[in-house]
Symmetry: C2
Subunit: 498 residues, 2 copies
Amino acid sequence: MSKDQAKQEFTNLMKEMKQYEEAIALMAWDLRTKAPKKGIEQRSEVIGMFAQKVHQLSTSDEMKRLLEELREETDDPILKRSVELAKKDFEKNEKIPDQEYKEFVMLRSKAESVWEEAKNTNNFSLFEPYLEKIVEFNRRFANYWGYEDHIYNALLDQYEPGVTVRILDEVFPPVREKLTELVQKIQQSDVAIDSSKILLPFPKQQQEKFSLEILKAMGYDFSSGRLDETVHPFAISLNPFDVRVTTKYDEKDFRTAVFGTIHEGGHALYEQNIDQSLINTPMATGTSMGIHESQSLFWENFVARTNAFWEKNYDLFKSIAPSDFQEIELPEFYKMINEVKPSFIRIEADELTYCLHIMIRYEIEKALISGEVQVKDVPELWNSKMEEYLGIRPATDSEGVLQDIHWAGGDFGYFPSYALGYMYAAQFRDKMKEEHHVEELIRQGKLSVIKKWLTENIHQYGKMKEPLEILKDVTGESLNPDHLMNYLEDKYSKIYKF
Amino acid sequence: MSKDQAKQEFTNLMKEMKQYEEAIALMAWDLRTKAPKKGIEQRSEVIGMFAQKVHQLSTSDEMKRLLEELREETDDPILKRSVELAKKDFEKNEKIPDQEYKEFVMLRSKAESVWEEAKNTNNFSLFEPYLEKIVEFNRRFANYWGYEDHIYNALLDQYEPGVTVRILDEVFPPVREKLTELVQKIQQSDVAIDSSKILLPFPKQQQEKFSLEILKAMGYDFSSGRLDETVHPFAISLNPFDVRVTTKYDEKDFRTAVFGTIHEGGHALYEQNIDQSLINTPMATGTSMGIHESQSLFWENFVARTNAFWEKNYDLFKSIAPSDFQEIELPEFYKMINEVKPSFIRIEADELTYCLHIMIRYEIEKALISGEVQVKDVPELWNSKMEEYLGIRPATDSEGVLQDIHWAGGDFGYFPSYALGYMYAAQFRDKMKEEHHVEELIRQGKLSVIKKWLTENIHQYGKMKEPLEILKDVTGESLNPDHLMNYLEDKYSKIYKF
């Protein structure tokens, strides 16, 4: 076979895998937004079958042969990187038996709907057997894959290649200390913020209207996407021309939808702005969960929780919000959307306590995977850690261990990326500030400049670069939590005057 | 290989094909209801790839071998029928080269979106090259398949096995004569109905509310389905537990949505009530387009356009409709939803002139496929026939040849099923009347009895029986247009007093 023929066959194979993934993504989006209840089981089977197909292709004899043929390919950077990523996948996937993988995918799909019911009815025991199986699958897979130092590293590598337990156990404790110190200063501050004043009734339809306006202002392309409602918000890319945002409307707390939509919108901007030359290759997606999260958090916090953002958008907000909101002055509003207050639900947490939520999950995951902790003990462990780090104890599992979909979705090793994303985002922000007066851009509504900077520095590359490589290329640094800590200290010392 | 092993392998193969079809159905639904514009092209490719997979499976060596192994299977009626249908498919599909089939599927998908633009901008020339290619593909396929008597029979067989050009050319002309006679009597009648009085503004949201209520009353199961908005309404089954209805809201004419929703709801009831033992087999769908249409038309006309139906539901309607509707009395309303008036748009046609619309399409299709007519001449031909049969001439192609999606979707041989469905439905109605006081059931809102009768006699069998076999089993007759003619004469002679 000629090299050209091998290249063509490999390109076709990559495309075929992407096409299966597009169908899987649409079915998953549908299950979480639109699908009728009785169809879930049948659908889960279909998703399982398709995921198995992708798995089979990624470990096929044809793949093996093509990777061998193309192992010294160096001319075409896109082909070279495709081969590199396919090879990594091949080596990981061939270690997992087809049947086991299919079972895992079906289990995840089923577990997600059971989790939803367990959460709605506050019934951990309903979800417990599913979680046990999911942990067991993850342990088994980690062992198939192999690891250095710690079994959890095998799982981390799926989401944040290059980051290890050693790094996390070095970075997280001092960050936790600093955050605890800041929380204490805030609690001792004379400034009292009571955000309950903005928890006014806000009809779903008006929240949707504002969410749509803000997505538009961010530069989200609606001809390549759409906004829908769901239980647990997410953004999903079918391909760069079809990247969908979902959100949740809480009629008693507009912040859920507004900041949630902006957060998912940040993810979506990343996927929509990947270079078109990468379509139908493995690089047509964000490079890691952490870099992805850096984009969503950038928009949610560094753009949308600033005074400058609301100076620009407060009139628009008031024109859409119910009349009760009209009396709230902007300085008061700004403080209320930045209240620091230990709370139960991660996705509703303020940006200061957020990383503490992540650390709890990281510690529990690591212990579950290493076998130090059993699933049945997790609710109690969760609650104890909440008390230790945040000083509050959930009264129910629905506002405790059952709040996140991730474990139901089979995702272990994912949570740390949220904290990493925060740190990356703060590093990007400081770099952007060297080149632009970011606050002024936000105040003037010139969000397109920010979007352009992020696209040029991050989005366009998709998975062409590794996460720590992007970080280094953009900021000249490796992982450095100081940027985040300085940002938080600066912002909150002003709000809480300490 | 043992017989049991062959059975298992065959069952798995059928299931795999159904799973691809479920994904294709979801992608098609999404394209027509939700998908962002820029994603269409990429999506069309994915649908094309999947359709090719199904095609490959249906003509695979494995299929050939299994059909051979199981050719004398007689014990299990489900397996027997699966083999029979798979064999028919195999023999048809193996004659079409994979690549050609894939091109056709991608063409269809693309053509549908071009058609939409052509219709919106009244620009037939935009659609013309696509339609030419689609006709060409249909001619080529018909020749691959082979036929007796007339090339068009090969296409008819896809939708209405057992029905031929000879039958249609026998039945359609006398029906056309009778319909023309009735239209004339109506035009000479002293009774003048002006339905423009009910063309009052009716906001989309309220129309949706009423549509949902009526679907519920029909017994449509929302835990196995949902209602969405689209340009050209359809119902689609992903599997019997996920059967979706779409509708179109015209804020100036509520009848479009109300009767359209009921029509598609009739299709959906058929698919939702197929026996569960048929899931994941080729029989888990309606047996033919004509029998399908008999179900939608039964509900739309024989249920929802009756006086009895509105005696039951008029209060509900008024409670949802805008205040301007309050003044319209029921007898007047009943007449206005049954006005006979030659009009341009098939899906908005009254039940008397409807079949004339079908005959125009049938004649043009037949001539295109036999090569007697060229695509470029179709708009003019369409308009002439409209003038000849209905006495009116479309001013634009949007309200002429561009109105239907079918040809864009590649469907030639499909249109006659609409008229056949009418005739079947009238035959079913007369049979049902022997067993039940149908009018009284409708008046009392006991639609569940009607649904049950249809499920027991028709729905449950899915594709276990051939269309004319069902007709015979239920009514004891073969195709007989007299039932429809008598029904129409009876109904309209009362309304128009002739």
